[in-house]
Symmetry: C2
Subunit: 292 residues, 2 copies
Amino acid sequence: MKIYTGCIPCFARQAVEAAEMSTDDPALRQTIIRKALHSMAELPYDRTPPHAGMIIHRIVKNLLGDIDPYRDLKYTYNLKALNLYPEMKDIIARSRNRLETAVRLAIAGNNIDFGVRMGCDHVDLHGVIEEALQKPLVIDHTERFAESLEQNQNILYVADNAGEVVFDRVLVEEIPDFEERVVFVVKGEPVLNDATMQDAEEAGLTGIVRVIDNGSDAPGTIIETCSESFVRELNRADLIISKGQGNYETLSEEPRNVFFLLKAKCPVIARDLGVQVGDLVLESLALKQESL
Amino acid sequence: MKIYTGCIPCFARQAVEAAEMSTDDPALRQTIIRKALHSMAELPYDRTPPHAGMIIHRIVKNLLGDIDPYRDLKYTYNLKALNLYPEMKDIIARSRNRLETAVRLAIAGNNIDFGVRMGCDHVDLHGVIEEALQKPLVIDHTERFAESLEQNQNILYVADNAGEVVFDRVLVEEIPDFEERVVFVVKGEPVLNDATMQDAEEAGLTGIVRVIDNGSDAPGTIIETCSESFVRELNRADLIISKGQGNYETLSEEPRNVFFLLKAKCPVIARDLGVQVGDLVLESLALKQESL
């Protein structure tokens, strides 16, 4: 998905939030914001939106060194989600369709996204679980997803955010032989509240599946910024589970067997998907392309 | 009120909306947005927020010539508000406190503001009248306002938006001897949906009071951009009625007898006023300064 003009105010907000998260020094904050605005003015509009997030966080890194301003917030949400892990396992145990319930929980976890919401640093995790269990999936390719899990062997699970990865773990654990079949992918470097290897460890994923990082510092999967080893894994996979908006924005035109699990949180993505803001989605890219 | 970092995403949104309102040509839109972002990056942060709006609309003007992209929308809201004028006069006739009711109606009109709301081009005028008649004024200096109207002779009514000026007319007409005492001020050039002389004419104000323009193209009252003749009127006035956020942002540190009538529509201004977003305000600057 290419950048829409409607994305620009959101980039400006991300720059302001990154500046405010990264330093208390008003002069440095101004420098970050000014540099980011100049970069946004020069942005090639044929790129995807995560390109902008990547540039903003590179500006922060260049000015402040290797810092991870979202570290505390990520740790907090990993812990919060881990506290709910037993409850989620229980919900699945009591459910009629374990896979569908696990899909819904994984989508619920996609609410933990500090790249999207203006000024929002609190997510009511009980509330979002409740919502995801009750609301319809407005695009619902669960059946195709279940078939694809049966038919394919090598599954790449492309994660999105910290905290959310605990919800992802619940879904991973519902995939038969997940220990052998699933490779779980996190970001190569910190950007926004996207999950890195540390988050995968904190969420207990490294103990159950092979976790790799994609070598990139983009809040999405911009393939040309990823490591060769990640690209090999991507090419080897015959089923890709893609979590969240950033991965949708960067993988939605890839000719691969991708399933997008996300909550549409901004009007631009909602329009691109043909849904409303707030809608829950499990979309098979293959099925979508077949129907075009 | 100086620019806060929280204003930056709103400036970016204004740039995008100005580009989309002004031209259908994608290349021109991009040029407007890119130039605006560069300008926002260079913005002196010791200015007030309307400075940014002024710069954005000057970029549009430089690229596209003297156009007024909001003209149709302004005309539509002048007409819509005029349709409600008899009803508003009736509400006042039936009210226990005519001045207070007229103040509330003038504040209701401040909802017609296309500089503030993301993607909003529809305002339910009946709804906002209802709201303004029922909700408390969270800052309520109506008593001081009534006293000040009795004690002072020369009243400058600094208007905000098209459509809203019909609501202003209702308040103006409740001021004793308004024909002699009130000078009504509109913008010197089109910017956003701010009222110009044409709107004052369409709203019927030019027939009842002296209307002047401030000579400026800023969406507020940046005094150094105003004409000498406006500044003379400002200095002659002993009571200033200031409508809306843009005028608050630019007049809130002036050592003058100003009354601000507005609805707080953004978190930055709400914080500056010490109220919540959505709150209705009639604030006497003098009374505020006395209490500090």
